[in-house]
Amino acid sequence: MSSVVAAKERRIPGVEGVWVFVGADMFFFAVLFMSFMMERAKAVETFEASRLLLNQDIGGINTLILLTSSWLVVRGVQAAKVGDYDRVPRFLLGGLLFGVGFLVSKVFEYGAKFGAGITPVSNDFFMFYFALTGIHLLHVIGGSVVLLVFYLRARGNRINANNVAHLEAGGIYWHMVDLLWIMLFPLLYLLKAL
């Protein structure tokens, strides 16, 4: 007796192109991280003294905010994949609100820095701090817009089995934004001088 086992269809999550974007974007950040470490090695004391001026609590809260947001987006994508479309908008809205929460938190953090007279030209550490977190913030803004679009589409019952890969691609982008922060947080806020 012969048995035929249907091979499970393997596919790349999301749409293929999003991985080109994610790969290149991560490469850009890798270049910046490498650049940061090279400059840090030249002025360890300045970088350490400047690092201590950052608010680690806010950094930690921001990490939790983005992780929670990512988790909600995962739940939304999972709901869409199993056809539970009614729950998708709720999860996406939750993810979006946490993304907006991150933006608000950053506004306060930047405001405190500027209030204390710290700007991107204060020293090389703060040049990197504002540039890296600023570029990341642009990614968060872009991701929030993406989540808003998918939320509106989900509310209008325009997410279905044919286009769920697009939602998955949006989720992949959002997780990349999360992952970048998870690397930025220790690099800027926690990395101690030996």
Binding site: G17, V18, A24, D25, F28, V31, L32, P120, A131, L138
Partner: protein
Amino acid sequence: MAAQPVPRQYAMWKLMAWSGPIFFIGFFVMWGLLARNFPPMAASTSAEGMWEHYKNLQMEILIGMSVCIVLGSCYMTFGAAVSRVMRRIEDGEEGMLSNIEMLGSTITCCPIIVACGLWLTGGLLVDSLAPETIQMLYMGAWMIIDLAYMVTSWQIIACSVCFMRDKREKKLVPNYVSWWGFVTVASFFPVSLIPFFKTGPFAFHGLFNFWVAFPTWYIWIVLMSIYVIKAVYRLEAEEKASESVSAGLRGASATA
């Protein structure tokens, strides 16, 4: 008498598409190699150092920049060819994206040509200008060519969105090129930081704002050139095949 359809000017279309490679090869050689912009002189160089640079490379800069001012126009003609391909995907001449592409590529020429003109002026008048004036010309040209990136970004976004909407089974421009377009746009944003830094990755000669942002754009132009040239030849072949079929059907119905 019914009006005859005007035959498409494929020869001209192909010529315009081939101006893409003329642009990117010409700029690489004349701007990059001959005028020594690989790597560019650092933003932190003193005014006297910049004057020395222009004095030592006067002839190379004069030739390189003169040619680049002429070649800059090829970005516009190439953009026209890309725009025509995009019209086949979207709503004909009414298509918004193909128009943005055309405008974006045309306006992108302006900062390129103006910047090359300023570098050329520095080379031309180096003997009669003070070092600070040479510095102003050199830095000013970089600010213009770099900070106008958003015009080019709109052009690239329009291309990416349009080519991703292509419903053909085998798209005229593959998706990965469109996504690379988004990557290119993303790499442009840190360029906004160049006025604030003379050293480090965000200076105009820096690791990110030169060695990442420029090659990323360059790769996009190369990829887009390859696929747009192929697309024009493919569209011509498809049209010829369609005409042959129509002629065959007309012949068959006349015989019947």
